[in-house]
Structure formats: structure tokens, C-alpha cells
Chain length 135, copies 3
């Protein structure tokens, strides 16, 4: 069992590929195991999705904004700005954690898979991830 | 590896903070590890979200009801009431399981994070969670 | 720690119960533990949901198609067909991985729970799952 804290630099609102940032900070990985990445925030999320075409991330941002719109009259938690409550909802939908198998000392991602930071706030600071390696 | 069953008391339909209920029943935690909580039901979910303002839970309930409405003409699984099929869909979206890193013998939640029971049925009974501690 | 690759046969677009397929290929399970199933694709997902009534799977397919419609004018990633970008979004919402506790050498699923392959492409080939057993 190895566990490290990975501080991310601040990112703009949107979906961002962070596979390289994560891989560069991971300790040496076991022959077989499981990596859990957990983001310690309630207005951002982690996910696995397409790693090649930036337009996928663009379309995810557009689609999530249509799905969970801002400024709805039924929102009551809105003291921190119009992006606040939608950010909590989007975070709940994407989830705060991903699990990735470790296969032959590497992340067992499929050919087209990458790790995403889903940043749902307009002006977020840096986010903190706890990485736990189970062997 | 430790594993226990955590029976929850019945909750009303809605999003509920259950961090204290879970923590009170967990066994002693290792210095570093991972906690998996798994709810053994298909019309409720588990999630991590904001722990401070009850209005966040209120707005999540409103938003999920708008997102996955009841009484849609295309529903065919509706023998158990109008809340039944939406409950399955919401459960699939939130997920049945959360993973939380264990850091220095405590849950490694962020400052604003709590554990949610997402109860999607109008008149649900008690729900059962399997808690697995990996070290 | 045991890890195996489970190749699935091709499935039609929709939500499919694959509990038996998974169980038949799993190695012998420990008294207590955790199973992680990870799908190495970005246009399909894994989930846990109702195992009894096929109409639940039918209604999930209808609901997801309403929630994440095809042919929206704001999609920019659309070179692989109208089902492509929605498939990525649906995969992000369902998630690529499920964790199931292992209880008394069996999967600790609830009475009504089963493992779902969520196939979001119209003409997908076979999908690959990495199964990791932690004890």
C-alpha cells in the first residue's frame, strides 16, 4: 500500500486530460494492483474518457452545461455564484474518485482512455488528489 | 482486510448526510488504506458531496427530479409506482459505491466533503451497506 | 491479488445483464475482499442495477437517449457517427468501473442487483474488462 498527495495546478472550467500529470507523480507501481484517485473537493470531479480529440472535452463541457443549467429558479444554494450549485450537481454525477487497474507495473488504461479532471467552477484554485496504490 | 455490514435506519426520499453514522460503525482504521462502501440496493445510491449547507441536498433532490422525471409515457417498468423507474435510473447515475482513502487512520475526506445516502424511493425501508477496509 | 482479463462478446446497443458472464470467468474468491471491474473503453460503461425485469434495461436505454440526445447542433466531435459523442458522455456518466465487495467467497450483491454492461455504440465490437480481486 502506497499513498501520496498529488496537488494539481489550477485549471480553467472544463474537462482536462491529466494522465501525464498523474503518471509523473505516481510511485513505482506493482506488477498487479489497483490505483484509486480521490479528489478532495465537491465542485470538481474525476473521470476516465477519450484521450485523443480535444473536441470530446469541449462537447462534454457544452453537454454538461445544458444538462445542469445555471440560474434555475428552484436553486436555493446560490450564495457563491451561479456556477456553484451546478458544480456540486455535476461533481455528484461524475464522481469524486476513479479506480484504475495496475497491469504489468503500468496503468491498465485502454488505448483511448485518459484520466480527466472535471473542473466545474469558473475560478477554482488548485485541487488536491489522494492517490492510493493497492497491491 | 476488514469487512462489516452497516444497516442504515430508514430515510425519507432525498439526499442525506450519513458521514457520522458510517464513522461510528467503522472498525479501527489502518494508517493508510481504502474504504469501499457498497449499498446493496437498486433504487438508492451513495455519493460524496458538500457537508455544510442543507440547501445543497435540497437542490440536488430538485435537480434530480427535473433531470429524471416521473410518469414519462415511455416508461414500461412502472408496476411499483411512479417513483420506481426514476429511482433505478438515479441509482445508476449516482452509483452504488464510493471509495474513500484512509489517511492517518481517518477518512481522507476534504474539508467540505461528506458521505451521502441518496434515497430515491418515496417509502423505502432500511438500507444495507457493506463496508470493506483495505490496508 | 488476482487479476484477469475478461473479453466480452459483442452486445447490441443498450443495457445488458452480464453477472453470469463475469462470475463464470472469475478465479476462486477470498473469504472477504473487493472486486474491481474496469472496462477499457470510452463509449461503454459498467454499472450495478436491477437484475429481474428486462423492462428496466429497456427504460434505461430510452431515458439515457432522451437525456443525452444525438445530433445536437453544438456537438463538434461527430466524425464517427451520431452515436459517438453521446456514447462518450453516457460513458462518463455511468463510469468505467464498478467495485463489488466479496463476502464469504461470493460477490456481495444485493438480492436485486446485477452487473450491467452499458453499450452505447450502435455497432460495437467486443469489449474488454480487467477484473482485479483484492484480498
Amino acid at each position: 500500500m502506497k499513498q501520496i498527495i498529488i496537488p494539481l495546478p489550477p485549471f480553467q472550467r472544463g474537462f482536462h486530460l491529466i494522465t501525464r500529470i498523474i503518471e509523473q507523480q505516481l510511485p513505482s507501481l506493482p506488477e498487479a494492483g489497483l490505483l484509486n484517485l480521490f479528489i478532495q473537493h465537491t465542485s470538481a470531479g474525476l473521470a476516465i474518457n477519450e484521450n485523443a480529440d480535444p473536441l470530446v472535452r469541449h462537447d462534454l463541457e457544452s453537454t454538461f452545461n445544458k444538462l445542469i443549467p445555471e440560474n434555475q429558479p428552484w436553486y436555493r444554494h446560490n450564495s457563491e455564484g451561479s456556477d456553484d450549485m451546478p458544480a456540486h450537481t455535476k461533481s455528484l454525477i461524475t464522481g469524486t474518485s476513479v479506480n484504475i487497474p495496475i497491469v504489468h507495473k503500468k496503468l491498465g488504461l485502454g488505448t483511448w482512455q485518459g484520466i480527466y479532471l472535471c473542473e466545474f467552477r469558473n475560478h477554482a484554485g488548485s485541487r488536491t488528489i489522494v492517490a492510493t496504490v493497492i497491491d
